[in-house]
């Protein structure tokens, strides 16, 4: 029920219409400091019962020019999506619906959500990350900045020039299909760095790292959404926040340098990969929460440890 501000402004949702399974949305208003980017990123919002008493939700959507539709039987939509897999959709005020539109997942969504300037977040940490920004959530950068100084290089700008300053690479979350052609340069760049510097990532970041290690990704039937998914390392389980429509194919990992460290408890989806020697660690879910749990926020401490060990080794 909670976290609609974070979800609607998460760049990873670019190109998607958000159907809220939670029946009431907007209850606690629109808090700017919960926004994960500067604008609403989803392409549309579908709700059963948007709380409109103060009009927060409505004005937030208007501000970003995003349509929303309320009083929809969202559970039935959810069931349809469960049966059919993720479907294309249109929100329209007219009966003539332009069915002939491109699959948003075939677009270069990452370029739509990133800025065109390199930025830095420095607070005197011991280590420095080169963040390959594919549409990073604000809370992810904030959490990363607690372990490292960040050089945030948006997708579209060659990161190679910043390698010298960085102790490790971090690939952020982002929207769309990881195997999209627009991401090929990034995949190539990461491929070259694995083994040289620690390479870490979250969400789309894990998929890019897997592709760079010679694995493949696939589109899931309807993906994992929501903050109640359990992942396990075979011993313990944690509740984690998920938002991914694509995943790393476990069978493709055979022979690669990557090991599966965690899986989804129900469908076995690869949720964390890594390689201790090569200094690779990536999570498919969102260890930073926002929205969602902080059960695996030790991910960031582990990244820090890997990098510090690597720095110590020289």
């Amino acid at each position: 029920m909670t976290g609609y501000t974070e979800i609607m402004t998460d760049p990873s949702y670019r190109g998607q219409i958000m159907v809220f399974a939670a029946p009431t949305v907007g209850n606690y208003g629109w808090k700017r400091d919960h926004m994960e980017s500067d604008a609403v990123q989803v392409s549309g919002v579908v709700t059963r019962s948007a709380y409109s008493a103060a009009g927060y939700l409505d004005s937030a959507l208007k501000e970003s020019g995003i349509p929303g539709i309320d009083r929809v039987d969202t559970r039935s939509l959810v069931l349809k999506i469960r049966e059919k897999g993720t479907v294309r959709g249109v929100i329209s005020s007219r009966m003539e619906i332009p069915w002939d539109f491109p699959d948003p997942m075939k677009l270069d969504l990452v370029s739509e959500v990133v800025s065109n300037e390199v930025s830095r977040i420095s607070s005197g940490r011991k280590i420095t990350a080169l963040v390959v920004d594919a549409g990073a959530k604000k809370s992810l950068l904030k959490r990363m900045s607690e372990i490292a100084d960040l050089i945030v290089v948006p997708h579209g700008i060659d990161p190679a020039g910043y390698l010298g300053e960085a102790d490790f690479i971090f690939v952020s979350n982002g929207p769309g299909d990881p195997s999209h052609t627009s991401l090929e340069p990034t995949v190539k760049f990461i491929g070259k760095q694995i083994g040289k510097k620690p390479v870490t990532g979250v969400c789309l970041g894990q998929q890019v790292i897997a592709l760079a290690s010679g694995c493949t990704t696939y589109k899931m039937r309807y993906g994992h959404r929501g903050s109640n998914h359990a992942v396990t390392d075979g011993m313990n389980t944690w509740i984690t926040s998920h938002n991914h429509g694509y995943a790393v194919s476990e069978s493709s990992m055979e022979g690669s340098c990557l090991n599966v460290l965690q899986r989804d408890i129900n469908d076995g989806t690869v949720e964390m990969v890594g390689n201790g020697e090569a200094g690779v660690l990536a999570a498919q879910y969102h260890p930073e929460g926002a929205p969602g749990s902080h059960d695996l926020s030790w991910f960031f401490e582990r990244v820090k440890k890997i990098v510090e060990d690597s720095v110590a080794r020289g």
Binding site: L79, I265, H294
Partner: protein, 1064 residues
């Protein structure tokens, strides 16, 4: 980690009799635990003296001990059954306290038994306020600041405290009750000065007040491998300061942001880990909206009322999962029984909203309606809807009280604010009234302490209600239904009646759709038939076909007069129907119960048990019949409406026409006369002038009541003319339109409760229970004995009467007959064509599933029955009363019911059974040494024999002056205890408070001048937990048993049942 296979036989400790704060929710969690153990092949031994529970049914547990939960019985059972483990986390505070006690006595080690689930050390950490606060300090979790004050240091400390307002409690009343709010140091010093003047050696505790903050609860589960999940959170609509059991509670929390939610969730996980809970616990928080800070308020280290609510709200069966964890499983190894394809290691997602509202006894008790830190409610309801509005209004509709009709409060403007700002059962009506009268939402929020969010939601509902006009079906009916407004409310506002609206709606084809509760908001396919209704959406539910379908009504919220015994009956009816090959469909709105466990029936509709919702399910499922005779008065009240809408044949069992005839006093009485059956003479009074003349024909004492209320409400036994006039005048003031009824009170008659089954012709006695008290005490409050001590000729006469009645009223299924016997003559007091509250105890005593027999008769099946089976022991059923919760309620028993629950004592002799029974009423128990006797003139002679007996048994007697003089005149010495207003000492108050009394015998009729003094004596005795007797026969039973020298021995239930060879 897989289950520990060394666990083979588990003692499950139940919660005992239903009391306020410990109700049907433990029957639910305890039953789930037994099922969870049994499906692992583990044998279960159940200890619970509550005979009304489902848990104590042999279909639930392998070995059943209806015995007092004492260290002695636990020890004996563990030894005789070779129990290897104890499960104490599903029996409420009773079970937890019992294992803390046996551990303190060193019995765990000597018995070599282990405690499953949360270790005892963790329970102690959570239960001991100081240890808990220290632990929270250690892990950095904020708790309310507190300090202890003594006579020496209070002045200095009071000045140093910088966190006023504070709650002050004396060291006598730690934990919940008896706190006062104090706003500054001078007020605190004044309180302390007063207190220490009379209690110089005591201390006082001062705690930071969190009143007014938002109260939130988290249901958290941890397994032995330190994996944790939160099942759901719950937001109390009432702010801190109102006990969560007294609050309206919404799930999931409606006003929390994700940051706030995860802040509290993180804290909850830190707390459960620090405590080392293995299983479930409930953690309460107070959230300060102003600065975003929070406090950890309290942890319940076990399943609780809240966990039952959370289980029903989320679909996640907490007791079941925590029992599996106690066996050694990890969360990732336990299947989610709702989806069956996913695991318990996840957090439920809800695509609906639930609202819980408590059900208070203020319709039965004329007491202070203020609610606060200590519980007064008897039961609760839950409404489920797609929106808050719908869930809230469905909960209101489930209450079956005045709010279900109308959310208005008829008070002058000048008094509205005080109703708004004072927490009570009327506060929600005051909120709506204020909205209707145009008060600003912010102002209402400020006065009531509810979040503005909720006020705005209520305003939306009120706006639509205001549009309803008298005399016509609203045009926006669909809109009203989407808001959850009941047909009953619309029927009241339009004056078309509930039935009128139900009909109009069905005629228009305006039906709800039904959706599944699946724990995952549609993400996974659910295998579980757990449904609720909503409007304007698609249907998840496809009506089943194939088997014949029967809808069984649940009994709605627990209340005085309708408790867990009807849940037992409806659950047993479900099981019987399933055995007979029917598809059994349950409808109920009570989240505490076993009947709303989705594992129990073929389909569960969690809906108000009202004509509207029952009709909707009938239409939806095209059921073949409705079973109404197992759900108390709730079912009976629907008979006529269902019959008018669907035809009389829809009701299985005794027909609605016959039910109506039985409930119509005049008609019923006429029939009885024709049949030659006696009943106490009665007459109807239409005005005050009638009263004297007509009553003279009947004679005093008489029972006076309004004809308007059915079933034991507002009845009084009247002894003199003055009282008669007063009472009749009151009745006409309350209900001018309805006659008052006066019936002869049969003094000193024996009362019997007869349960019987019939196929419409022949009747078979299930059991006859004898009231220990003479006729006049409500059958729910009487202490009863089975088998009765009556001559065979009387039994024969009763069998004859039941057969005559059965064929006359074509009783099909089960029924209950109350009779009085005086001078050998049998008088019919009341007939109910439904299961009574004694059915479960009779079923257990006879070893016969009477509900199953009744179901067979009601569905037209034949069955060979052996009537009037007699157990191989004596069963004494005792009521348990909530007097300590209501200081302003007199404990004198009469025709109005007061008890919340019951226990049973079973023994080979009447004395042994009585001894065990009196261990259950939560009062001081043991061989008496000093007894206070105070008796009015009318009863002095009668009491003499008992007092002599006590003196001969070595008891010293104290008595009030009149009684003292009387005893002296008969040569019985006693110490004198003066009346309260007397200046001489000692007075009765001092004697009771400090006199080390074992019991009080207080025999006073109503109407005697000593009533007020008696009230004080009774209140004091209750506050000191002293056995108090207001009935001579009951006192005899108790003292006779105590001095009989019987040593109680626990025995398994089947040892007492007829036909079973006794083991020892």
């Amino acid at each position: 980690m897989p289950a520990d296979r060394t666990i083979r036989k588990v003692l499950v400790i139940g919660a005992g009799p239903i009391v306020i704060g410990q109700a049907a929710e433990f029957d639910y969690s305890g039953s789930q635990a037994c099922f969870a153990l049994r499906e692992e092949g583990i044998s279960t031994v159940l200890l619970n003296p509550n005979p009304a529970s489902i848990q104590t049914d042999s279909e639930v547990a392998d070995r059943v001990y209806l015995e007092p939960v004492t260290p002695d019985s636990i020890e004996k059972i563990i030894r005789s059954e070779s129990v290897d483990s104890i499960l104490a986390s599903v029996g409420g505070q009773t079970a937890l306290n019992s294992i803390l006690l046996i551990r303190r006595l060193g019995m765990l080690d000597s018995l070599g038994t282990r405690i499953l689930g949360t270790p005892v050390e963790s329970i102690e950490l959570a239960e001991d306020r100081k240890l808990f606060h220290d632990l929270m300090g250690k892990i950095g979790e904020p708790v309310a600041r507190s300090v202890m004050l003594s006579r020496e240091d209070y002045g200095m400390i009071a000045d140093d405290i910088d966190y006023y307002p504070v709650i002050v409690r004396s060291s006598f009343s730690l934990g919940g009750s008896g706190g006062n709010i104090v706003r500054d140091s001078s007020a605190l010093k004044a309180v302390c000065r007063d207190y220490f003047r009379s209690n110089p050696e005591q201390s006082m505790e001062v705690e930071e007040s969190l009143a007014g903050m938002i109260e939130l609860e988290y249901e958290v589960i941890r397994d032995s491998q330190d994996n944790c999940i939160t099942v759901c959170n719950m937001e109390n609509i009432d702010p801190m300061g109102v006990h969560t059991g007294e609050s309206m509670v919404v799930t999931p929390a409606q006003t929390l942001s994700d940051c706030e939610h995860n802040m509290l969730r993180d804290s909850a996980l830190r707390v459960i880990r620090a405590l080392g809970i293995v299983g479930a616990c409930n953690i309460q928080f107070a959230l300060n909206r102003g600065d975003g800070s929070y406090h950890v308020v309290e942890v319940n280290p076990r399943t609780s009322r809240s966990s039952a609510l959370a289980s029903k709200a989320s679909g996640f069966p907490i007791a079941r999962v925590s029992t599996k964890i106690a066996m050694g499983y990890s969360l990732a190894e336990i299947r989610n029984p709702v989806t069956r394809d996913t695991y318990a290691a996840f957090e439920p997602a809800m695509d609906y909203v639930t609202v819980k509202i408590p059900r208070w006894p203020f319709d039965k008790f004329q007491v202070d309606r203020t609610i606060g830190v200590s519980m007064k409610s008897i039961g609760e309801v839950m409404g489920i809807g797609r929106t808050f509005e719908e869930a809230f209004m469905k909960a209101v509709s489930s209450l079956e009280n005045f709010l279900s009709h109308s959310l208005r409060l008829n008070v002058p403007d000048s008094r509205l604010e005080s109703y708004l700002s004072r927490p009570s059962d009327l506060q929600i009506a005051a909120v709506f009234e204020a909205i209707f009268r145009g008060m600003k939402p912010e102002r209402i929020a400020e006065l009531s302490g509810y979040e503005t969010y909720f006020i705005l939601k209520f305003s939306g509902i009120a706006a639509k209600l205001s549009g309803i006009e008298i005399g016509q079906v609203p045009e926006n009916l669909e809109e009203l239904k989407e808001l959850g407004v009941s047909d009953l409310s619309i029927g009241s506002l339009t004056r078309l009646g509930e039935k009128g609206i139900v009909r109009a709606r069905l005629d228009r084809g305006l039906l709800p759709s039904f959706r599944i509760i699946d724990t995952c908001a549609g993400e996974f396919r659910s295998q579980t038939p757990y449904f609720y209704s909503t409007y304007g959406e698609q249907d998840d539910v496809i009506a089943t076909s194939g088997k014949k379908k029967v809808l069984i009504l649940g009994a709605g919220p627990n209340r005085i007069g309708q408790g867990v015994e009807f849940d037992y009956c409806s659950v047993k009816a479900v099981r019987a129907l399933r055995k007979l090959g029917y598809s059994a469909i349950m409808i109920n709105s009570n989240p505490e119960t076993v009947s709303t466990d989705f594992d129990v029936s073929d389909r569960l509709f969690f809906e108000p048990v009202t004509l509207e919702h029952v009709s909707n399910v009938i239409v939806k499922e095209k059921v073949d019949g409705v079973m109404i005779q197992f759900s108390g008065q709730t079912g009976q009240n629907l008979a006529q409406g269902l019959s008018e809408i669907f035809g009389g044949d829809i009701v299985l069992g005794t027909s609605p026409d016959m039910i109506e005839m039985i409930e119509n006093r005049a008609e019923f009485s006429g029939r009885l006369a024709e049949l030659g059956l006696r009943q106490p003479e009665f007459t109807s009074l239409y005005n005050l002038e009638d009263a004297l003349e007509k009553t003279a024909l009947i004679g005093l004492p008489a029972i006076v009541r309004s004809s308007f209320v059915i079933g034991g409400r507002s009845m009084d036994i009247i002894y003199d003319v003055e009282e008669l006039v007063q009472r009749v005048r009151d009745i006409f003031t309350e209900n001018p339109a309805n006659p008052a009824i006066v019936s002869r009170y049969l003094e000193d008659a024996m009362e019997l409760d007869v349960d019987f089954v019939s196929d419409g012709e022949r009747a078979y006695i299930c059991g006859i229970m004898e009231h220990i008290e003479e006729a006049g005490t409500h059958s729910g409050d009487a202490t009863m004995m089975f088998p009765p001590s009556i001559p065979d000729v009387l039994t024969e006469e009763i069998i004859r009467i039941t057969t005559v009645i059965s064929s006359e009223f074509r009783i099909t299924g089960i029924a209950n007959l109350q009779i009085a016997v005086k001078d050998g003559a049998v008088y019919i007091i009341e007939l109910n064509a439904r299961a009574s509250r004694t059915v479960p105890v009779i079923a257990k005593a006879t070893g016969i599933d009477w509900v199953e027999v009744a179901v067979k008769f009601a569905t037209g099946n034949t069955v060979a029955v052996r009537g009037n089976a007699i157990p191989r022991g004596v069963f004494v059923k005792v009521p348990v009363f909530p007097f300590e919760r209501f200081p302003d309620l007199d404990i004198l028993l009469g025709p109005e019911m007061r008890s919340t629950g019951e226990g049973v004592g079973i023994g080979l002799t009447r004395e042994e059974a009585t001894l065990k029974a009196f261990m259950l009423n939560r009062r001081k128990y043991g061989r008496p040494s000093r007894v206070l006797v105070t008796v009015d003139d009318r009863r002095k002679e009668a009491a003499l024999e008992l007092v002599s007996y006590l003196v001969q048994s070595g008891v010293s007697i104290l008595s009030t002056p009149g009684t003292h003089e009387f005893l002296k005149s008969r040569g019985i010495p006693s110490e004198i205890a003066y009346k309260l207003e007397d200046v001489r000492k000692p007075d009765v108050a001092t004697v009771i408070e400090t006199g080390d009394l074992s019991a009080v015998i207080n025999l006073l009729g109503t109407g005697s001048g000593t009533l007020r003094d008696g009230f004080e004596i009774r209140r004091l005795a209750i506050s000191k937990n002293i056995q108090i007797f207001t009935n001579l026969k009951l006192a005899w039973a108790y003292f006779g048993a105590i001095f009989s020298g019987t040593e109680p021995v626990p025995r398994e239930l089947s040892d007492y049942q007829p036909g079973n060879p006794r083991r020892t």
